[in-house]
């Protein structure tokens, strides 16, 4: 280390070493998550040999598909330092409206039903995006309020009744149960969304801007990014995905209820923080949330298989969220400390 290098650009040096270390830990973190998934799977397999069968694995994948789709949107929201507690309600509302539509028009093309759901979701997302980006209400307060409004809408739309399996045409139910090339539609849709999302966040300008807004809103604004638009976009994407998930959910379970997916936002947030998305904003990877969703999906599937009572699941989920965010925080502290030690004064 010559004095020359020190004086040249200490900040640059810090940034580059910082990046390599955090990249290393981030990589290690995903490997760790993967290792944990494998260990969990092997452990469960010992207790219940029917766990690692092709049938059960596709079952897990189909059950995880909706969660993983929602995690994509939630990741974008959390990257911008926000949070969206309303997705369960948006999901229920979009699902309910599309279910009511097919109930009254049984001949409707399922794709149209899908589009209705997505459209409603986008509308809901726009409202939240407007409140957050333009009125500048804290995301948690805005979504907490909106959550109840949409939940109320869902009940009002259905008159408090369920739309059950026999009221839905087979074509609608086959959105979720059908398959293409031997792979279930839900899994296919999730895969497509992940590919698009990966391209979007890593290779488009708008995608990178989302990270810029999240890691430092002020400097993003100063460097010419219209933060308001980015926020609006992020919440709209979240809404659209929630709407899509709503149709898939209703089609999969063949039932639309007023309290569909209530509290599901917690699972989605859990998947994100498990996958290393930082609540402080600016950090999050598609591969991370994929692993996070899979881990949650496996847990949900495995716990009943090894006779863990359903009443423990809520506690386990909460504990996992807490441990995951604490680990995130400690890892971040380690990185910061290393950076500080490497800094040349």
């Amino acid at each position: 280390m010559s004095a020359n290098v020190q004086s040249a650009s200490p900040t640059e040096g810090k940034a580059s070493t910082g990046r390599t270390i955090s990249a290393l830990i981030a990589k290690f973190r995903e490997l760790g998550l993967l290792a944990f998934i494998v260990i969990l799977a092997v452990g469960v397999q010992f207790r219940n040999p029917s766990f690692l069968t092709w049938e059960n694995l596709t079952d897990i994948a189909t059950n995880t598909a909706i969660l993983s789709i929602l995690s994509v949107g939630m990741m974008l929201v959390i990257i911008t330092r926000g949070i969206d507690l309303s997705i369960g309600a948006t999901l229920a509302f979009a699902g309910m409206v599309s279910a009511l539509t097919v109930k009254h028009n049984p001949g409707l093309n399922p794709v149209a039903a899908l589009l209705i759901g997505v459209g409603i979701g986008i509308g809901c997302g726009l409202v939240i995006g407007f409140l957050v980006s333009w009125v500048k209400i804290l995301p948690i307060i805005a979504t907490l309020g909106i959550m109840n409004v949409f939940r109320g809408f869902t009940f009002e739309a259905s008159g408090g009744k369920w739309v059950s399996a026999h009221q839905m045409p087979t074509s609608f139910k086959s959105i979720a149960t059908g398959s293409f090339l031997g792979i279930n539609n839900l899994i296919l849709i999730a895969i497509v969304i992940y590919i698009v999302a990966y391209y979007f966040v890593s290779h488009t300008r708008t995608g990178r801007r989302i990270y810029a807004v999240g890691s430092n809103p002020d400097s993003a604004e100063v460097s010419g990014i219209r933060t308001g638009r980015i926020l609006l976009l992020v919440y709209t994407i979240m809404g659209g995905l929630a709407g899509l998930a709503g149709v898939l959910w209703v089609s999969k379970f063949a039932s639309a209820q007023g309290d569909t997916a209530s509290g599901y936002e917690l699972s989605v947030i859990a998947a994100c923080v498990l996958g290393g998305v930082s609540i402080a904003g600016g950090v999050g990877k598609i591969s991370g949330i994929l692993l996070g969703s899979i881990l949650l999906g496996i847990l949900n599937n495995a716990l009943p298989m090894i006779n863990v009572s359903a009443f423990w699941q809520m506690f386990i989920q909460g504990a996992i969220i807490l441990i995951a965010v604490l680990v995130n925080a400690l890892v971040k502290r380690g990185i910061d400390r290393n950076n500080l030690m490497r800094r040349k004064i």
């Binding site: 959550m147 109840n148 009002e156 504990a319 604490l326």
Partner: protein
Amino acid sequence: MEQRLLTNKKEFKAKGFILQWEWLLVALIVAMFVMNSNLSEYFFQYDNLRDATMGFLDKAFIVLPMVFIIMMGDIDISVGSIIALSSVVMGDLYAHGVPMPLAMIICLAVGTLCGWINGMLIVRYKELSAVIVTLATMTIYRGIAYILLKDQSVGKFPSWFKFLGWDYVGTLPFILIVFAVFAIAFGLLLHKTPFGRRVYAIGNNPTAARFSGVRVDRIKVIVFTLAGLMSAVTALFLTSRMGSTRPNIATGYELEVIAMVVLGGVSTAGGKGRMIGAILAVFLIGFLRYGLGLVNVSAQMLLIILGGLLIVSVAIPQLKSRFAIKRKA
């Protein structure tokens, strides 16, 4: 000397704005009374109004510490779960033969402990916002309640326990008197003690508060612990009123409490608001709900109204300051 002048000036300005907000609330309450009296002839009767307070005052206990929390720019969404957990622990202990007074004390202790855990996590791990910590503990606390009681409920409390939620002292409901005592205590704590001034200071600028010698962490822990304690108080009254307890009680209370605080003019950005506003909001929402219930407005419609009210009451000051800035520029 200079410093004192500065604070005086600022306080005066804030007062001017806040005062308006509270007058607005009073006007809203009057309007709501007129509307409800027109809708139903049973609304404006002393007995009915008095008894209605017994129905909605339970969650008002949490509003008091929540004012402090939101004033500091934090939030606590685990209060509903703390109610459930402390109530379930009390019910479970009583069902297993623990004497009721002891079970009640343990209920308060459980709530306090839950609040303390929230506070400790928030100050020890500053990277995590209060949102995510209380989101996690919300799931954990209710999860423990489910582990304890599964899908069952416990009841059959001793008959004197009903006193809390159903009885009167003189002509006033017991819960109203207890609430008045707590409200005065919390109001004095916020407005007349150094502690309260420090909470304002933290809300305005936590960093500046820390550098001027305010023990931010300690105050935060105390406030979150108080929120836990008051949730347990709510649990006592709610359980007494319902006569039994289940793990899924008080779901969504956090929303209502936060809505009341925000409607009361406490700023989510921190540092603004007064206790009286929040208390007015408690009665506004409580009587509104009671009045609409009289004319059979559905619970779902109430959800929409409540959510909308929360959004509008946060949006108004935001928009106001936004236009004020624009005018200045």
